[in-house]
Symmetry: C2
Subunit: 334 residues, 2 copies
């Protein structure tokens, strides 16, 4: 049987409230007793029961993280960052992978509520009214990660997708490319799909290359789809010499396709990715990509949630973190 506060009290020869005070406000207990209690705690390996405390404080010191796809390496970094922040803040972390399934997501929110998580980080997904209402009805505070809401007032941490995409495409233009395509996220159900597309458009307009605006093919998250999208893109526009991919995984799909068609990257076609996953540096060729501060995004999201939980609000409701173009081997001067 796990020792309880009674066992400690008995061993130390004090009442349970004294033991409790030793743990919660040690200075209010006279030194002699305090050390006896501490000794008993040590000897019994006593640890307070989180259920009992939770019942009283109505807090679990646990945060929830909702991610759409654990197999996307992006989230490995998010998780690391968030977990480190949780350790620092004295919280535990409960991660739920929705596999982009609406029902799963909703039922995970229920699970979070039942387990009384103190707050949730909602990552990389659109905050549909349905979700917002559920979360609000459950009275669980939450923040958005790599997402934001225009409709509702919800704190968020993300990267400036439009600007980041713009810079990536601008880089391609500066490299001398004139026929530039894009592999984007399907705009439906996508948070970063539209802004990254807008960034592409802005760069094109600015560069006087508006004829490229239609050179866009779409995929949904996975390598294989990006591969097929690239096929469509190049079938329709064989003259393309550079492709902006809105995800590193897409860039890999694109490069694989080009490889299979014996088109050299970066020799004939330059490819720029997005995210700077760990894989971006392992792929052949190493990917030129727009780096997101992935770890930091996770870290900040947890901090922000904590701020929301402890102060009731948040200083910077919509926080943008810095991206950075990283030039490697998949792009080249035209």
């Amino acid at each position: 049987m796990k020792p309880t506060i009674r066992d400690v009290a008995k061993m130390a020869g004090v009442s349970i409230s004294t033991v409790s005070r030793v743990m919660n406000s040690p200075e209010s207990v006279v030194e002699a007793k305090r050390s006896r209690v501490l000794e008993a705690i040590e000897k019994l390996q006593y640890q307070p029961n989180a259920f009992a405390r939770g019942l009283i404080y109505r807090k679990s010191f646990t945060l929830g993280l909702l991610i759409p796809d654990i197999e996307n390496m992006y989230f490995a970094g998010i998780i690391r960052g968030m977990q480190d922040a949780c350790v620092k803040l004295g919280y535990s972390l409960m991660i739920c992978n929705t596999d982009r399934d609406k029902d799963r997501l909703l039922s995970y929110i229920d699970a979070f509520r039942e387990k009384q998580v103190d707050g949730i980080v909602f990552a990389s997904d659109i905050l549909y009214p349905e979700y917002y209402e559920k979360l609000t009805a459950c009275r669980i505070p939450f923040v958005l990660l790599s997402s934001h809401s225009d409709e509702f007032e919800v704190p968020s941490v993300e990267v400036d997708d439009e600007e980041a995409a713009y810079e990536a495409v601008k880089f391609l233009i500066e490299l001398g490319h004139r026929e530039i395509g894009m592999i984007g996220f399907n705009h439906v159900n996508s948070v970063s799909g539209p802004p990254r597309y807008e960034g592409f458009i802005r760069a094109m307009k600015e560069g006087g290359l508006t004829h490229n605006i239609e050179k866009v093919a779409y995929a949904e998250h996975r390598f294989e789809q990006a591969y097929h999208a690239t096929h469509e893109l190049f079938s329709a526009h064989p003259d393309i010499t550079a492709v902006f991919c809105v995800a590193d995984e897409f860039a890999m799909g694109t490069i694989s396709y080009l490889k299979d068609r014996n088109i050299l990257v970066p020799g004939q076609v330059s490819v720029v990715g997005f995210d700077n996953l760990r894989m971006a540096n392992m792929f052949i060729p190493k990917l030129t990509t727009v780096a997101q501060p992935i770890y930091e995004l996770g870290y900040r999201a947890a901090e922000k949630l904590h701020e929301l939980l402890t102060t009731g609000s948040v200083k910077v409701p919509k926080e943008m973190m810095k991206h950075k173009l990283i030039v490697r081997e998949s792009s080249r001067q035209r």
Copy 2:
């Protein structure tokens, strides 16, 4: 304020114990009242407080997962499998990433204990006596995943590393290779390092190729280290025509090194990986590799832990799951 069982009782005009019974043994409550209670529950969106239940049942319906490196894609599949099993079994999952840090691991066990997780899956790490004792002292049941213990009696789920490695190397021999090297895990602190090395040795002996036994270089988990290890390996043995890598990430490191040296894969050198990560199919060239049933390993580990929790023991203490060689593009007939 979240509604409590009292609110439901009041609304339904019954005592709280009736409400409780509606939830726990509905047949013991007469239909008329039962439906009134159910209605009240629905109307109030009532959900029992997990703290209160936990206090009584001494169960959290939460499992813990301890993994060494969330950035290793291997664990993404493990997590998916385990989470799906948890959903099926009515459990929540708490994941902790130790970053291979002993102190972190130990403190996560404390956190698990405090949060009263019902059991732990301990993945891909050696069960040191220190860990075993801590877990035992905390009285938390646990199972090993992609690991096992000869020293202690602990249920485990894994793949037959020795046999799998043996088959991979045998495949290379059958392809006609005679000068075969290996990029292995450092044997210290490694679970699968030794058996995979043994498999390599066995295949070599069987093939009468014992001169290869010393053609082994070691790395610890990461791409960059595998890259360097490959450099060592080829510096010492430039005649190698095939490399068995004990992880897909190593295979990528090896191939990257060879690429940088203008050595063609599979043209001049064949490379076989291990794991069959999702990336194995995205890399260029696609990796020939020994597939582990990653998702299933996670799933089974959770099931096994559940079996241990509910029955107190486990039918098959040391369970081996099937591996399978998958031939893709990184290997070729010599």
